[in-house]
Symmetry: C3
Amino acid sequence: MFNAIVSADTLQDTLDSVSVLVEECKIHLEADGLEIRAVDPANVGMVDLSLSAAAFESYETDGGLIGVNLSRLEDIAGMADSDQLIHLELDEETRKLHIAIDGLEYTLALINPDSIRQEPDLPDLDLPAEIVLEGRDIDRAVTASDMVSDHIELGVDDTDELFYVDAEGDTDDVHLELTAEDLIDLTAGPASSLFSLDYLKDMNKAIPKDAEVTVELGEEFPVKLHFEIAEGQGNVTYMLAPRVQSD
Amino acid sequence: MFNAIVSADTLQDTLDSVSVLVEECKIHLEADGLEIRAVDPANVGMVDLSLSAAAFESYETDGGLIGVNLSRLEDIAGMADSDQLIHLELDEETRKLHIAIDGLEYTLALINPDSIRQEPDLPDLDLPAEIVLEGRDIDRAVTASDMVSDHIELGVDDTDELFYVDAEGDTDDVHLELTAEDLIDLTAGPASSLFSLDYLKDMNKAIPKDAEVTVELGEEFPVKLHFEIAEGQGNVTYMLAPRVQSD
Amino acid sequence: MFNAIVSADTLQDTLDSVSVLVEECKIHLEADGLEIRAVDPANVGMVDLSLSAAAFESYETDGGLIGVNLSRLEDIAGMADSDQLIHLELDEETRKLHIAIDGLEYTLALINPDSIRQEPDLPDLDLPAEIVLEGRDIDRAVTASDMVSDHIELGVDDTDELFYVDAEGDTDDVHLELTAEDLIDLTAGPASSLFSLDYLKDMNKAIPKDAEVTVELGEEFPVKLHFEIAEGQGNVTYMLAPRVQSD
């Protein structure tokens, strides 16, 4: 049994956070909220999302697992104005999700969860550096780097206590340095890794410009990006595997 | 002789209402206003439009019939700001229409009316159900239905006194029910017909979201959609032939 | 040595004025500001631009000549908000331009000026007619003419003291007349020349709608278009060669 009411913008933000990596996903219906974990086909980018029951206007379930086509569900949610409520109700018998928006009822066929790529185990990494910054600074770094290269180095200068971004192209380079003053918080430590811009660009799309983003970094280790959605009632963590240093 | 001045938005709304169905049309220049009737090449959708002389700032004619290329005329009207005036004057000798917008003069070659598809006779149907609703509700129904199917059923539930929309796709369905409370007015009667979404989508584009639209329906009969333009000085009626029920 | 700080919108307007004609250009770094002169590959359209040192927040140079890829530089400038400052600094040794926007540093490889098309000599013409009008009137004339033709006649009616624009298509025509009343200023004189719309459309893109544009015209002579950018601290002159009259 699953019967919930949620605001359109909360549902949209939730779906957008996952759909930048995968087209289909499993949604765990837990007593205290929704849980989604997914990894892209190349096994390079992962997302771990939880949306608390408190993020909903009403939320009832006795547990379960459903598989959904994200773009289809995004299209439906997109029909609502951001402040409209969306009613979700699972029909256990037909395995369809009834989605109602102000009198309009959409019946969505679900996907057999067994046919969806297996959920990843997110490695429990203890990364030495942690940077907290605004989403808009990630956007600036990613957008500029994309003008010159297809990969990006993220690092921390342990001595000067600053976070840096480096992108080296064939002719042009981009460099961004943010000191403790420019950042919300910085725990310096030895950190420097190279990442694919394709993935960071997709993740960047889902990160609100005004979000407080926590970045965890190491030496040639995956990067973790955490931020909140749904006014703090939802948590998103992206993990991105490093590229082998090209030089 | 034809010499008239009209606001750009009135002319734009008039042209848009017709151009969703046809590329060229005949315009009857009558003493009391303009009249346009047209049918699409497949003979499925028709439009009947009248724009009263009162919709114009000034309007003079001794009658006549002209043929126009609608997209060309829409481009010209689109050059004006919505509150600018457009001066239209027919040159009988050259069969060209002089269109002046604040000093800019455009000379449009007219089309021989005999070369344009014949105007349809709009059948005088006495349909048992009549629904009056806002343009935005038609837009919601059409947009959602388009996500799952290429046809749409419109009907009235005579017993429960409600208007419904049904679209059944291969996997997903859309259903909308509007009771007398949700509608501006409802005259219930036995009514249920299937229509092509392609046509309804085009007609929907020309229906203002805040227009009061009167829908006349029957059992496997054409649907009629009426609404006003030009602050009540213009009337548009669309008629759409039903599809044979697929099930 | 070149070290300057300029607002993003001033730099963007400067680059846009030149990039409508050429992809690469030479920039002369003079004591009193920047100078750019360029001609398109077909030798039909030219631009002569100067941006005074007073247009900059700070400006220091001991002279020099650099070659730049305009679209690359436009992309970088486009990353800044219009009221942000952009810091430009030439690295003489590497021949790279360091561009800093609020902590973000972009290193742009310059182009060898010798590899860029030679700068044109702008002929010193004494044209008999001069029209001063708003950029938005040029936009209207060019947009409407483009609907019917690929060339446009600009002229002055010496007797009636008016500026006219004529575009003749295969079936439709566009005509615009602006009298001294509609214009900011008019010095009448014998003038009538035919121009390619392709070039005028490009130049029109770079002319602000609210700019005061001075147009100098003659009988089958090039047209000159002057306007200011950077709140009067920059000057742009376009010159466009006439087409041979087609009739």
